[in-house]
Symmetry: C2
Subunit: 165 residues, 2 copies
């Protein structure tokens, strides 16, 4: 496929001209922040579980729409990130939604292999924080997943851990 | 209640000392960005539907944990935001989770009144973006909610719309 055969961002995205257009209209007019990013929330389409939260730049949003597979922008590696390209755990987009002011994307995905977290868990959100009355039983984080879905060393090898302190 | 009877941020939050502690430990050691914010994803605890994405500062996270009701930081109004204080649509936290590197919070909530979006819809994410093969049927956004859950003018009156172009 030649470069010109891909849809361009100009074709996919409309300019933002009014609050009514953005909130009540049918044009995709996403807002990218001052760094060129739009946040993206990704959930499991079947369980509703929150898998991950990341950002997209224009190219990532364009490629996700064009291919139906989740693409993000990796801030640690500073490049387009086709999720699953390394691990094989590609996210197939069952449904994409955009919010009222079009500054946030929601992907409902089907994950090959069932795991999305670089630590090896199914979801990045594998620990519970006790709140309100729950705190009577203690304030320590509670693990909701007790077994990893895959071995991160076997999948990622010696690649640097993206977590930053 | 005196000010000193409230739990302080120092008591609730641990310092971030190692990747192992942050990813595999049971201490709450949240990471706030350079503006002092941590993003928060809020879903309906029963349906799994994504309701909204916002940010918390230290005080908002502290108050959410202490009270079991969702508090955010309003970037448009630049103040602590007890969700529902104006509209009555308080979000009761059924479960709070934190992600692997502890730079994102997930709230599973029960919403009084059933709506969370300032435009009047149940969810802020009331429109679908066609992706991949779905685009053969057209590229326009598709409304997934056809009726508003409440009348924003009746609830918010003449308060300024928070959406920015």
């Amino acid at each position: 496929m030649t470069e010109s055969a891909s849809p361009s961002a100009d074709q996919l995205f409309s300019a933002r001209v009014s609050i009514e257009q953005v909130e009540e209209g049918t044009e995709l007019a996403p807002k990218f922040d001052d760094k060129g990013f739009i946040p993206c929330v990704t959930t499991d389409h079947a369980s509703g579980e929150l898998l991950m939260v990341a950002v997209m730049n224009r190219e990532a949003l364009e490629k996700t729409i064009a291919t139906g597979e989740a693409h993000y922008y990796s801030r640690s590696r500073q490049c387009l990130w086709h999720k699953g390209a390394t691990s094989g755990l590609v996210q197939k987009v069952v449904e994409m939604r955009i919010d009222d002011d079009q500054d946030c994307v929601w992907l409902r995905v089907e994950v090959a292999g069932g795991a999305s977290c670089h630590v090896g868990y199914r979801s990045c959100f594998y620990r519970k924080v006790p709140v309100g009355d729950q705190r009577a039983a203690g304030t320590a984080l509670e693990f909701l997943e007790t077994e990893k879905a895959f071995d991160p060393k076997a999948v990622y090898g010696d690649a640097p851990n993206p977590t930053q302190l």
